[in-house]
């Protein structure tokens, strides 16, 4: 079963806010000068910010903010966030891989930015209500 896609807009302001909240102040997430110096196309989103957005999608599908039992991803491609008011967009989809007798649902998750996958092996196990 395929779950309805969820879309998240990401701007520079979001990265600054996330840096402060998470304590990850790596300059590749806020300085174009630094990011390009280390060979990136520009400022990129924190991998953990992308994962947090995927976490929002997963809890929304599960129907409860405390449903996540296991959650893992591999970061395969950077999410470049331009310095404008539009930013970029991450689209999250998932398929239900398995539902166990213990009330757990395993999801295979896909996250894309500009049509390219930014994660692989993204999997979540959620406790389903009921």
């Amino acid at each position: 079963m395929e779950l309805p896609a969820q879309t998240f807009r990401v701007t520079r302001a979001d990265l600054v806010r996330y840096a402060g909240a998470s304590g990850d102040f790596n300059p590749i997430h806020w300085s174009d000068r630094f990011a390009t110096k280390v060979g990136l196309p520009g400022v990129i989103a924190h991998g953990m910010f992308t994962m947090a957005l995927v976490g929002r999608a997963v809890t929304a599908w599960a129907g409860s903010p405390d449903a996540v039992v296991d959650f893992g991803v591999r970061f395969t491609r950077p999410v470049v966030v331009p310095d404008d008011n539009v930013g970029t967009e991450i689209v999250v989809t998932a398929v239900v891989r398995e539902t166990t007798e213990e009330g757990l649902t395993r999801l295979d998750v896909t996250a894309t930015c500009l049509g390219e996958k930014v994660l692989s092996q993204a999997r979540a196990t959620v406790r389903t209500a009921g």
Binding site: G23, A52, P65, G72
Partner: protein
């Protein structure tokens, strides 16, 4: 300089307790746009059976990233952090993190491998309360990019 393979299996001393604050959970939830009342309103957290507001699933990284400094900054292990990118991340929960938790992290080096000129360091952080109750286990794989 390659990472020292003899570190595989090494466990570091427990970190100082981290007090999970209600406002920190709210701040983190706001930063990721997580508007569910259970992240913001203690009554909504209690309605789900928790003692206070509930942290979003990736919140523990705010604790474990700081805790992993003891390993990343260990000169004997020899990580050049300017060449590090985040490879994998995983959380396995015993229960969600909630405001009021006092958490301790124990870092273990699970694996060090080398492939294509890059090195891969997998760490496991066991997060438990000061009373010894396990809460979440967090795995991170860091990629130390080879010097081209």
């Amino acid at each position: 300089m390659p990472l020292d393979q003899s570190f595989v299996g090494r466990t570091y001393p427990p970190t100082a307790p981290y007090q999970v604050g209600r406002e920190k959970i709210r701040e983190f939830a706001t930063a990721i746009g997580a508007n569910d009342p259970a992240h913001h309103d203690p009554a909504a957290g209690r309605a789900l059976g928790h003692p206070d507001v509930v942290a979003p699933p990736t919140f523990p990284v705010a604790i474990t990233m700081a805790a992993s400094r003891q390993l990343v900054e260990d000169p004997a292990l020899g990580i050049d952090y300017s060449r590090v990118v985040h490879g994998d991340q995983r959380f396995a929960y015993t229960r969600p993190v909630v405001a009021g938790d006092e958490l301790i992290c124990v870092n273990t080096v699970e694996d060090i491998t080398s492939r294509g000129g890059h090195e891969f360091l997998t760490t496991r952080t066991d997060v438990s309360t000061t009373a010894g109750e396990p809460v979440v286990t967090v795995w991170s794989k860091l990629v130390v990019r080879g010097e081209a």
